[in-house]
């Protein structure tokens, strides 16, 4: 009789322990998922910061200088042989003022009678998402010695 009761208690304890372990395991899985989400948030934040810093620094790299002195504008005549590798991104410069009725992509041949420069374009089928940020910039056309208002757009494919 004592043996039987003892075994029953042991079975009960084992089952209690088992359920406690299952509850702890579920808790840990939920906690891990939560941490993983926060990591994705950090990664998104990092991506956003990188794109913002590109928006800040790219106009310096493509900048118009007069005798080496920065004139705070993008030199449009330098946009045709942009050799840098920026990973899976698309960099576009659009003229916004004076406003044109239709977008004409710039090539070496039709420059400066155009209003949209696709400076860099590297995409892949495997990326479904894209982060797009833009900022206003000043565009300089040396052949006409004119400044125009433009928009620098960066698309990050991920």
């Amino acid at each position: 009789m004592k043996d039987k009761r003892g075994n029953l208690q042991l079975t009960e304890s084992v089952l209690v322990m088992f359920f406690v372990l299952v509850i702890i395991a579920i808790g840990l899985v939920v906690f891990y998922r939560f941490q993983l989400n926060s990591l994705h948030d950090y990664e998104n934040e990092y991506r956003e910061k990188q794109i913002m810093s590109m928006l800040m620094t790219l106009p310096n790299e493509l900048g118009y200088t007069f005798m080496g002195k920065s004139e705070n504008a993008i030199d449009t005549s330098r946009l045709f042989s942009f050799g840098n590798d920026y990973g899976f991104k698309t960099i576009i410069l659009e003229e916004v003022y004076p406003k044109s009725s239709e977008a004409v992509d710039c090539t070496r041949e039709n420059y400066p009678n155009c209003n949209r420069f696709i400076v860099y374009d590297k995409t892949s089928q495997r990326f479904e998402n894209k982060l797009v940020e833009s900022r206003p910039v000043s565009l300089y056309y040396p052949l006409e010695d004119r400044f125009k208002a433009g928009k620098l757009i960066i698309e990050w494919h991920y």
């Binding site: 075994n7 084992v14 910061k49 620094t57 200088t65 080496g68 050799g83 010695d145």
Partner: protein
């Protein structure tokens, strides 16, 4: 009754083993996750520092307290920051291989005569040891930001020998073209100057190509940029004097009413 007891023990052992495997697996996964998180946070703050440094119109430096040691790798495809895994970066870094504790970053744009690239210089609390007999190297170190010059130990301990001889920067007996102070600083701070110089040459080549393409477009204004184009090729071949000649040719073009090349 005995069978029931056996069953209990077997049940305990199996469940115990599963639970142990689960918790051990969780611990490893969690550790990996935390490391990845620290890495992302670190890269984030590094990126912020780079942007802040570039936003300034002056040559500036900053200090970054780093949560973990990292190394800089220079390979064929460019520079990488290795924390737990390799993170490729698209800028030039002049640094020793391993960085510990505090990271000091200094930024200098390389312009000779036009903008070529941005160079980031790294140093840590352990500093860099060099040997030199050239007063110009000592003078260059004097002109560095305070948090850099105090960490460069000249003629102390064991370090690379760096000298300037005529138009050449000589590092441990190997002679390289002296192409301005920015590259001399890279010679002082880089563990692998040859690799750094190769990437610099590629940046210089890109910049020359860009300005050659611009010169071709500017020819439509009726001006002749052929002399400048010839000097560009020499600059690409690391001719130090080509930069001065391009500068004076550019001034000539402006005086003749032509668009400025740079």
């Amino acid at each position: 009754m005995k069978g029931q007891a056996y069953f209990n023990w077997i049940f305990i052992i199996i469940i115990g083993a599963i639970a142990l495997a689960f918790f051990a697996g969780f611990a490893f996964q969690y550790k990996e996750l935390q490391e990845k998180k620290t890495e992302v946070v670190f890269l984030n703050s590094l990126d912020t520092s780079f942007t802040n440094l570039q936003s300034s119109t002056f040559s500036t430096s900053t200090k970054l307290k780093i949560p973990l040691d990292f190394s800089i790798e220079c390979g064929d495809s460019g520079f990488s920051i290795v924390v737990n895994e390799k993170n490729s970066v698209d800028y030039l870094i002049s640094s020793k291989d391993n960085i510990r504790k505090n990271l000091y970053i200094w930024y200098l744009p390389y312009e000779n005569p036009f903008f070529v690239t941005n160079i980031y210089y790294f140093i840590d609390d352990d500093g860099v040891y060099i040997q030199t007999n050239t007063p110009m190297i000592s003078q260059l170190i004097e002109e560095m930001p305070d948090n850099f010059k105090s960490r460069i130990k000249v003629n102390e301990g064991i370090g690379r020998r760096i000298d300037i001889s005529g138009n050449e920067l000589v590092i441990d007996g190997l002679a390289y073209s002296y192409l301005g102070d920015g590259l001399a600083y890279a010679g002082i701070l880089s563990s692998n100057y040859t690799c750094f110089l190769n990437h610099f040459k590629s940046e210089l080549n890109d910049a020359v190509l860009t300005y050659e393409s611009k010169a071709e477009i500017l020819k439509r204004s009726g001006c002749n940029y052929n002399f400048v184009l010839a000097e560009m090729s020499k600059l690409n071949a690391l001719d130090r004097n080509a930069a001065e000649r391009i500068e004076s040719l550019n001034i000539d073009m402006i005086n003749r009413g032509c668009p400025s090349l740079y």
